[in-house]
């Protein structure tokens, strides 16, 4: 665990939840990958909380899909947000408050601290909205 990277708050960025990360890896809709391409061109940040990345990596089949995910991280297409010891306590409290697992709570924590929307698929958007988060929705 390390301190969070020094990303500025308030600038243009999105926080990917677990389904969005899986979409990036698998190309399920292709829209997520198109968003990643445009974000790189524009200099927008796509943040991937480490706990959500771990969950997604466990759900993506080993091989090509996971290789895509690894390359997206290595190529800084997405920026992984680590969990510092202090973050871990806050994320635990946030998860208990909203009845979220660690991965979703890390997404919520990152979106809250950076004031960035959560990027998610249509089927999951209502979950985040009901919790009071702003969402950008994939098809």
């Amino acid at each position: 665990m390390t301190d969070s990277p020094r990303l500025p708050t308030g600038l243009s960025g999105r926080v990917l939840d677990t389904p969005a990360i899986i979409d990036l890896a698998t190309g399920r809709t292709r829209y997520m990958r198109a968003v990643a391409y445009m974000a790189v061109l524009n200099g927008d940040t796509l943040a991937v909380p480490a706990a959500a990345l771990a969950q997604a990596a466990g759900m993506v089949p080993a091989g090509s899909d996971r290789d895509h995910l690894t390359r997206a991280i290595a190529g800084e297409v997405v920026i992984v947000i680590p969990m510092s010891p202090r973050d871990a306590v806050d994320i635990g409290e946030l998860g208990a408050k909203h009845r979220l697992g660690v991965a979703a709570a890390h997404v919520a924590h990152t979106a809250t601290t950076r004031r960035w929307p959560i990027l998610t698929r249509n089927e999951d958007a209502h979950i985040w909205r009901d919790l009071g988060f702003t969402v950008d929705v994939l098809p």
């Binding site: 198109a34 968003v35 445009m38 009901d130 702003t134």
Partner: protein, 91 residues
């Protein structure tokens, strides 16, 4: 082309004249004044390098994941412009 000179870091530098918006100059000078850039030239050069890096990464992505359809690219632009956004229901 302007004269080429070498600096202490060994990198060849070339002096050129460019035209930019006053806001860009003001931003560059503010960054220098705040100590976040060594000079206006360094600020402009860094921005140019950053753009080149972004474009290289984008080309690499196209090699891996492209080509994208017009529909996919239009959707991506719209999403990054906030057009697929729904606001929080409560604060």
């Amino acid at each position: 082309m302007g004269p080429v000179r070498h600096t202490l870091d060994g990198m060849a530098k070339e002096k050129i004249t460019i035209t930019v918006d006053p806001e860009v100059v003001a931003q560059a000078r503010a960054e220098v004044a705040a100590g976040r850039a060594a000079s206006v030239s360094a600020y402009i050069a860094e921005a140019t390098v950053q753009r080149a890096v972004r474009e290289r990464r984008a080309r690499d992505l196209l090699d891996d994941w492209g080509p994208f359809s017009d529909q996919e690219l239009d959707f991506a632009r719209a999403l990054l412009d906030g057009e697929q956004r729904t606001e929080r229901a409560a604060s």
